[in-house]
């Protein structure tokens, strides 16, 4: 993957940090059912200050830093931790930079970037938008009721970044992004161990009439829907990049295994069937990686990103399904041991494919767009 000089330098620093502070501990955190998010993020902020500088600068520098981070996280083989860091640094922090009010930026931007505050994010697929929590305007405050699913970073969060449907008398209902302090009354975090993301569990959060100041709304009142959609697409594109980069790393490790593993007196890799299967995976991963890269960069295009994020997420979903299946398979029973990184990838991939950007959600958007295109051509 090509980066600018600054990006290359940032990538080097990030990889060194993650190799020392994250990768050796992932297996232990998986067993414990959580990773020390604040500690890791604080340490990251002090060890690699260039990352925060890039995020603060916004624009293309910020998007390159986001790409660098997603790439650097691939060797950790823990899609949950990668999603957790990505939510905090690539999704929440940039939203504050670009759309947060001066007061919100002043109060939260530095603590979020420095890892002093952990922020959760819930962004359901569009298909589920009707099931978003609602927020009713009462005496200058928004009262939130309902349930959010697939929430990343919810356990131990200080702040919940939550897309809600805001009911406004005479206007109707519009989505908006609300920052909800975790100490507010009536918040219940339901952590159920799921098939994957053991070190950074995905949770359900329930709001039972939680009252929040209207000043905690990010962006203008009438831009909530666009903001929610924009961030959803950004996360799809970043997720696609993360999945493609991790799949690429997994294929490289699998190749090494197949070189070393001897079967019938010769390396497993000597079998043409194995060579071709790996080659197909590598080719597919390379194409997906490029599509995901463009999908991330496209977030800053003046004409808009089109459907690149949707296409990238769908392609990446298909890629990880194939690579998870192939790599565990080629490792035989070794890939089926629960504590192995192969099993972890297999489990995490299952959740990553379903969680935020499920196949049918993204395909529906591609299909709708294609149908519109045909109509335009006839016109």
């Amino acid at each position: 993957m090509h980066f600018s000089d600054q990006g290359t330098s940032l990538s080097r620093d990030l990889r060194a940090f993650l190799a020392e502070r994250v990768e050796p501990h992932v297996a232990e955190w998986e067993v414990q059912g959580g990773y020390p998010a604040r500690e890791v993020m604080q340490s990251l902020a002090s060890s690699v200050p260039a990352l925060n500088e890039a995020i603060r600068s916004g624009g293309t520098a910020r998007l390159e830093a986001a790409r660098v981070l997603e790439h650097a996280l691939a060797p950790s083989m823990a899609l949950g931790i990668a999603a957790s860091l990505s939510i905090q640094l690539n999704v929440v922090a940039p939203v504050l930079v670009a759309f947060g009010s001066a007061a919100l930026r002043r109060a939260y931007l530095s603590p979020v970037l420095n890892g002093e505050l952990l922020v959760s994010w819930s962004m359901p697929d569009q298909a589920n938008e009707r099931s978003l929590p609602t927020a009713a305007l009462e005496n200058g405050r928004l009262v939130v009721t309902g349930r959010a699913t697939h929430v990343i970073n919810a356990v131990g969060a200080d702040l919940h970044a939550q897309v809600v449907r805001i009911r406004r008398p005479g206007i109707g209902t519009q989505p908006g992004l609300l920052l909800i302090p975790a100490e507010a009354q009536g918040i219940e975090v339901i952590a159920q161990r799921q098939i994957g993301y053991r070190s950074a569990p995905v949770c359900t959060v329930r709001y039972h009439g939680t009252a929040v100041s209207i000043d905690m709304l990010v962006g203008e009142h009438n831009t909530g829907a666009a903001l929610a959609d924009r961030q959803r697409r950004l996360f799809w594109a970043l997720s696609a990049l993360r999945l493609a980069a991790t799949a690429t790393e997994m294929l490289a490790r699998c190749k090494t295994w197949c070189e070393q593993r001897k079967i019938f007196g010769a390396p497993l890799l000597n079998n043409q069937a194995v060579q071709f299967r790996l080659a197909e995976g590598v080719a597919n991963a390379a194409l997906t990686l490029q599509l995901a890269r463009v999908a991330v960069e496209a977030q800053a295009w003046p004409e808009g990103p089109g459907l690149l994020a949707e296409q990238a997420k769908y392609t990446a979903n298909q890629l990880v399904a194939d690579v998870a299946e192939m790599t565990t398979h080629l490792h035989g029973a070794h890939g089926y041991i629960d504590s192995s990184y192969l099993s972890r990838f297999y489990r995490d991939a299952a959740l990553a494919m379903k969680c935020i950007g499920a196949n049918d959600t993204v395909l529906r958007r591609v299909f709708d767009s294609e149908m519109n295109k045909n109509q335009n051509r006839h016109d």
Partner: protein
């Protein structure tokens, strides 16, 4: 047909009363009472009607098939696997080749479910390559001394005895290996449980043999015939795997139908019902194709025809189909099924094991390509 129907109903009853009510708890605890379940099936004369010998009447195959189909029509893949290892991999070896009073006693106890037995051939560094097996039985004083270790052995943690494939010759040829019946209580045998991605019954393990004294009477079959006998067992295991995979897939396809009928998918936010319906129909066609193919292979086997390549094709296709159904279920069911012990997550994890057990897909493809 009546007897077969009664047998099928008995197995269904066993599943309803002895298995289904407890399945979720066993799964969460990563512990299935397999010994107790095998004992129950043995007492009900299930194994007596199902174990396969080299000269079997056709009806025995039908009983065996019914047992595997019924035990796999569950939200769990491990129960059928444990029964298969006891019944088809190990017990049928004893049924054909047990020797002396001791051997016959083991055979009878296993048929009655009083003892559990399993085949131990795989090693950590060998996988499907039996020629690379390192576990060795060195002749000593009219008997043998067994040293080595086996890995990823089904029923390892509960077995009373292992049918161990060990090197008795110096080369890598077909006749350099023998099978031994080794009780797990023998001095020098130790077992360690392996925590696996799926198939969480707490029964898969690694077995170590340290200078274990083995009497010549513990040989299964004759010396040097270990590989041919093991390969024969693999064919039975693969056929059973295919039958179980299809049935396991069918259970989950039926579950998806129930979800559709109850409109649970729409409630969970899935809009693409047309797409689910077409996927469901595709899977139904694949499962029907497999059912017909199973009938065909069993019929050929009755008539003494060689079916190794057809069994390989069947196993390959059945396990692939089941994995594909698991992927469909994972995409469409509601979130509750994605929790670690939820049905979709469990199916996704368990279905993966079937394609690895009894020889990988590549082994199946090699077998098929060699024959054609």
């Amino acid at each position: 047909m009546t007897e077969l129907n009664t047998f099928a109903q008995d197995i269904d009853q066993f599943v309803r009363t002895d298995v289904l009510p407890f399945l979720d708890t066993w799964e969460q605890e990563k512990h299935y009472p397999i010994r107790k379940l095998i004992a129950t099936l043995g007492q009900r004369q299930v194994f007596a009607r199902c174990f396969l010998t080299d000269q079997d009447a056709p009806q025995r195959y039908q009983y065996n098939r019914i047992l595997h189909e019924r035990l796999a029509y569950l939200p769990s893949g491990i129960l059928g696997s444990c029964i298969n290892n006891h019944l088809d991999a190990a017990l049928s070896l004893l049924a054909n080749h047990a020797k002396g009073e001791q051997g016959m006693a083991w055979r009878n106890d296993c048929v009655q479910g009083r003892r559990v037995i399993t085949l131990a051939s795989t090693e950590s560094q060998t996988g499907s390559d039996i020629g690379e097996i390192k576990t060795a039985a060195m002749e000593q004083g009219g008997g043998y001394r067994l040293n080595g270790s086996k890995w990823f052995i089904s029923n390892a943690t509960i077995a009373d005895a292992f049918c161990v494939l060990a090197r008795t010759g110096t080369g890598k040829g077909v006749f350099d290996f023998s099978l031994f019946l080794v009780p797990s209580a023998s001095a020098g045998v130790s077992v360690e449980m392996l925590d696996t991605l799926g198939m969480r019954a707490g029964t898969i393990g690694a077995v170590r043999f340290e200078d274990v004294k083995v009497d010549a009477s513990q040989l299964i079959g004759i010396k040097g015939m270990g590989v041919p006998l093991t390969l024969k067992q693999f064919e039975k295991e693969r056929l059973s795997l295919a039958i179980r995979s299809r049935s396991h897939g069918l259970y989950h396809l039926d579950l998806l139908k129930t979800y559709l009928r109850e409109d649970r998918l729409r409630a969970a936010g899935t809009r693409e019902l047309g797409r689910i319906e077409s996927r469901l129909a595709e899977h139904a066609c694949e499962l029907e194709k497999l059912r017909v193919f199973i009938d065909h292979v069993i019929d050929l086997r009755f008539r003494g025809k060689p079916v190794a390549d057809l069994v390989a094709s069947l196993k390959l296709q059945a396990t692939r189909t089941t994995k594909s159904i698991a992927a469909t279920l994972l995409q469409y069911v509601d979130d509750s099924a994605l929790v670690e012990h939820g049905i979709a997550a469990r199916f996704f994890r368990d279905a993966k094991a079937a394609s690895m057990a009894g020889g990988s897909d590549e082994m199946m493809l090699t077998l098929i390509s060699r024959t054609h």
